[in-house]
Amino acid sequence: MGFSLVFSVLRIINFSYGSIFMLGAFVGLTVLGLVGKSFLAAFLAVVVVLGFVGVLVERLVVRPLREKGAPPFLALVSTLGASIFLQAAAEVIWGAEVRGYPILFPQQFYTVAGARISFTEVVTLLFAIGLMVGLQAYVKWGKMGKAMRAVAQDTQAAALMGVNVNQVITFVFAVGSAMGAAGGLLTGTYYGYAQPAMGFMVGLKGFIAAIVGGMGSVAGAGLGGFLIGMTEALGGAYISFDYKEVILFSVLLLVLLIRPSGILGHSIREKV
């Protein structure tokens, strides 16, 4: 999601996203330890703190490259560096081991059409959907959202409309990071853990989701994420859980072979 947002606006692949996701889980855990079991407090803190970290990443490792006119793929390298740095920092602060999450929601269960659903699942799912729909709506109708799309489609023309391009890009990083971090918090709540290494696979999967769904399409990234989840769960259940990653990457390869621009993507134009 956040991944695709940043890509769509800047045509750069932001690899720090995975680490920001992980930091979301840890900052959430720490806040929960400080203020007690308030999901909302943790959510707000995570969004604010990691939104700010996202801005720092943009200012420190992305903008200098952009201002020097470096090719966008270099940002892939520099954000990967930032990602590794953030993960190492997390290991220093929280240790490299898995940390358990407290129980945040009442342990209640419902049976819907024969499947059991827990309250936690309902809340995390609704929250995730809410965030996704909210982001999508904002990008579609919000003023800043429109500016983002304008910058994405034609940066110079957007500047001529009076869009402060740097501000929009900073904002994109802030929102993208806040979304990613919220994802980390939700994952921590849902699976009950946080670990510095947890971001790596997520970063990679976010990248895949964005590719599978179609680069630069927020809806596509959502769809891609859903397909990844399904592939893993079904591949795991029907073939082997040991090979779920192998299956996932095979599907990625297949999609790229059949539709290089992703399922909802249109071909990426080189901008003049």
């Binding site: 489609q153 110079q156 869009v163």
Partner: protein, 240 residues
């Protein structure tokens, strides 16, 4: 209102504009003639802040504006309608027009301006919810002009609005530009063109630019009668 003084602009070591000075007053249409690579676009981009000059000054309404970032220049209602239209292809016509009024906070003003634009280009109204990228070149140029008008320009910078359009369309676009100018006598227009015949038709004054320098200047009438201009631009235009 616009006063360019001894402007020099380059791309790295390439010098594109080498010491030009020109003025645009409120209510006039000033034509900047020049063939490919003369430096017209570079000049306009420098005024709108996309490029920073290496030397010289740009003044707008007694304020120095060179070196300001583009969004600050746009904030002063200097609206640059770029070469090649540059509409936002995945946005609808309405969204494109809304982007044109990005700095305008008052919704009522945005509405008024959009109504004016739709009056000027009824075609855009028909296509209001169509993605801009799927429209024809002429429609896109109308949209680009309309979008520029949405910013409530005091100074309008038009870069080759006739580029790539069929002659009939060219005529109607220039007619619209003339209308825009007549409608608002406080607005200045700087029009960069290769199509000298049509441009000088609506223009009040003009300059001829060659490899980064201004070689000839005068009223539209004087330029039309100038031999060099006739040979280099009008002749070519007629023959073409």
């Amino acid at each position: 209102m616009l006063d360019i003084r001894d402007l020099h602009v380059g791309y790295g070591s390439i010098k594109a504009v080498e010491g030009i000075s020109l003025k645009v007053a409120a209510g006039e249409i000033v034509v900047l003639l020049g063939s490919n690579g003369a430096g017209k676009s570079t000049t306009l981009k420098t005024v709108s802040g996309l490029l920073t000059p290496s030397r010289g000054e740009i003044w707008f309404q007694d304020e120095r504006i060179d070196g300001l970032p583009p969004h600050r220049v746009t904030g002063r209602h200097i609206i640059h309608c770029p070469e090649g239209r540059r509409v936002f292809p995945e946005m609808t016509v309405t969204e494109n027009l809304e982007m044109g009024a990005y700095v305008e906070r008052r919704r009522s003003v945005v509405k008024e301006r959009m109504a004016l634009v739709f009056d000027l280009f009824p075609r855009l109204k028909e296509r209001a919810s169509q993605p801009a990228g799927t429209m024809s070149g002429g429609e896109q140029q109308m949209l680009a002009l309309g979008r520029a008008l949405m910013g409530g320009p005091r100074l309008l910078l038009l870069d080759e609005p006739s580029l790539g359009l069929a002659p009939a369309l060219v005529e109607s676009i220039f007619a619209s530009i003339g209308d825009i100018s007549t409608a608002d006598k406080t607005m200045g227009i700087l029009l960069a063109e290769q199509n000298a015949a049509e441009a000088l038709e609506i223009g009040d004054r003009g300059y001829v630019m060659e490899t980064g320098r201004l070689t000839i200047s005068g009223t539209a009438e004087e330029l039309r009668r100038d031999e060099t201009v006739q040979r280099a631009y009008l002749g070519a235009a007629v023959a073409g």
